[in-house]
């Protein structure tokens, strides 16, 4: 589904991501882990066009230009941020409507000229957005302002917004951050339910959460892939252990 080849991101003289390649199959849930500063979020930013990057990216065989967020969305890549990015001036329903896969009749032409067509499409969009809100359990709050939501609810709203765009690939940046254990388990349950037909790339630090969900894990350190495999294999890898726990001091030997 998603194929990233030799993706590199540099900030001035610093290379945050260096020639990272990975493949995400249809329906696969891939974990992306690494210590802080290893380039996980930067890699996600490169994939969804938030930062300029070098390399090649394809989704479903079609090439996706890097550095262009809307092109990434058009290609079917949706993103959920570590800190929920919702629009507080809009209602929950309006937040979800933003990402509707139906992008037609949303400009001044629909507002002033082709209103009947706009209404037909708009009604369809409302229904789809309500379905997405229902999946995450926020349908009863559809007409409430997003500003009224708690932190966890905003996270769910962002997830609903991503799902309403009918993406092919969903990028999740630490979705369990700020959630306690029962909430994390419920989120895992929710992700299991929505993953059908969807490829997920998940960054997280909670090992249990990753083990519960991931088919495969890729480990980054200093912007480079150091390990890849099933969760069990990856956690046993010595390079991964040393990346997280540090290399034993030579003097100790």
């Amino acid at each position: 589904m998603l194929q990233a080849e030799q993706i590199s991101v540099s900030f001035g003289g610093v290379r945050a991501v260096s020639e990272v390649s990975l493949t995400l199959d249809t329906g696969e849930l891939l974990g992306l882990v690494g210590p802080n500063g290893s380039g996980k979020t930067t890699f996600l930013n490169a994939i969804c066009g938030v930062v300029e990057a070098q390399g090649q990216l394809t989704v479903d065989g079609a090439r996706v230009p890097l550095g262009r967020p809307r092109a990434a969305w058009r290609a079917g890549i949706a993103r959920v941020f570590q800190a929920p990015q919702t629009f507080e001036a809009l209602t929950c329903l309006e937040n979800v409507l933003l990402s509707s896969a139906d992008a037609k009749m949303r400009g001044v032409g629909g507002a002033w000229i082709a209103r009947p067509v706009m209404w037909t499409r708009e009604r369809r969009r409302w229904a789809r957005a309500m379905e997405a809100l229902d999946v995450v359990g926020l349908a009863p709050l559809a007409t409430s302002p997003a500003a009224m939501l708690s932190y966890g609810q905003r996270r769910l709203l962002e997830l609903a917004r991503a799902l309403a765009g009918d993406p092919k690939v969903l990028l999740l940046d630490e979705p369990s951050a700020g959630l306690n254990d029962p909430e994390t388990a419920a989120l895992a349950d929710l992700l299991r339910r929505v993953r059908e037909g969807l490829s997920l790339l998940l960054i997280d630090h909670k090992v249990d959460f990753l083990d519960m969900l991931c088919d495969r894990i890729v480990v980054l350190e200093l912007g480079v892939v150091i390990a890849e495999g099933t969760p069990q294999d990856v956690w046993r890898d010595k390079r991964v252990m040393s990346a997280y726990l540090g290399v034993p001091d030579d003097a100790a030997h």
């Binding site: 309500m130 765009g165 959630l179 419920a186």
Partner: protein, 361 residues
């Protein structure tokens, strides 16, 4: 990484059958579509049509009412540019000037084109200029965009001052033809009032059509977080450009109508005072509503007149009043009106409830 525990009601499996599902998954629409905006426009226009002739007991009062209407049109344009698109443009008064000159040039004796064509040409030229400026400055945000548009204003004013064939000697054109529609000339301020009220009605309806469309929510998302809006598929750049063009076109329309009404237009007609004044209109009236610039323009035009009785202190009182309104009413006069209507509705609801309790014993 934040590890603070927060109340996040992730639904448990048995709670997934939400109220919406139980209600048969009825259609839910954004609350903005449930508001009666068309009725409010009709009510407003009828009210102005009925009340304004009684207020306009002198020529100066009629002048102020007409001025209010023409400023309100430019103000709604600025609402689209600043409040909806989030573009800090500083060229609305320049668009008014350009509209005035263009319309005067098209309808001048040598060309002899009708008034409507003059207005259309004003709208066209300001739209075109806004398109060019918007494209060139598309990556400039906030203050940088303000500086870019200020530069356009400055260059434009200089061009007008030297381009005698278009903008007259020393940037002044006189003897601009009076407005004329379908053979009917609007010569007096009282007649012009109806023309301006008609134009404002059309503009208000166009504004309502935008409010009641996905265009508005996409624009708000683009304004509040450009990057996230783009990541969710919103054509943020295009929406901002279109709103800048439309808002500038209303500036052109306003300037054109003013020029034909006043019979002259110059580079000083819509000067720096009005450039700041348009910001004031929006903030006084309320940035969050299309009615903000309409109410703000009324306040902006009327208050100096009201305070003219205390000539000596009028500037001080006016400044203090502006300060109080901006500080005490962050949502502007519209916010005050909304709060007032909410209180009235609550009182009515309470009274009804009391009646029911009394009847029920």
């Amino acid at each position: 990484m934040s590890e603070t525990t927060v109340e996040a009601p992730v639904p448990a499996a048995d709670e997934r059958d939400s109220r919406w599902t139980r209600l048969g998954r009825r259609t839910v629409r954004p609350p903005i579509y449930a508001e009666h905006q068309y009725l409010v426009v009709i009510g407003f226009v009828v009210l102005v049509a009925l009340v304004a002739p009684h207020i306009a007991t002198s020529r100066s009062k009629q002048f102020l009412i007409d001025l209010w209407l023409v400023y309100a049109i430019a103000g709604i344009g600025f609402y689209w540019v600043f409040a909806l698109a989030g573009r800090f443009a500083f060229c609305q008064t320049f668009m008014m000037t350009l509209g005035g000159f263009m319309s005067a040039w098209v309808t001048r004796s040598g060309h002899g084109k009708p008034f409507l064509l003059g207005v259309a040409s004003a709208i066209a030229i300001t739209s075109l200029l806004a398109f060019v400026v918007g494209i060139i400055a598309r990556r400039s945000q906030e203050l940088y965009f303000a500086i870019a548009t200020l530069a356009v204003t400055s260059i434009g004013a200089d061009v007008f001052n030297h381009w005698d064939a278009f903008s007259g000697r020393n940037g002044t054109v006189t003897n601009v033809a009076s407005p004329k529609l379908f053979g009917h000339a609007f010569l007096k301020d009282k007649q012009v009032f109806w023309l301006f009220l008609g134009a404002l009605t059309i503009v208000l309806l166009l504004a309502v059509l935008i409010e009641r469309s996905p265009f508005r929510r996409d624009a708000i998302a683009s304004r509040d977080n450009l990057l996230v809006a783009r990541l969710t598929g919103v054509a943020a750049g295009r929406h901002q450009l279109v709103l800048f063009i439309l808002g500038s076109a209303l500036g052109g329309l306003s300037g054109s109508m003013y020029a034909h009404w006043a019979g002259n237009v110059s580079t000083g007609t819509f000067g720096i005072d009005l450039a700041i004044g348009i910001f004031l209109m929006l903030f006084l009236g309320g940035v969050g509503s299309m009615w903000g610039p309409v109410l703000g323009a009324a306040f902006y035009v009327a208050i100096p007149q009201v305070l003219s009785n205390i000539q000596k202190y009028s500037s001080i009182v006016y400044g203090a009043l502006l300060l109080v309104v901006v500080m005490a009413l962050p949502r502007g006069l519209v916010g005050l009106a909304q709060d007032g209507s909410r209180v009235v509705k609550d009182q009515v609801r309470k009274a009804r409830r009391k009646d029911i309790v009394d009847v029920a014993g």
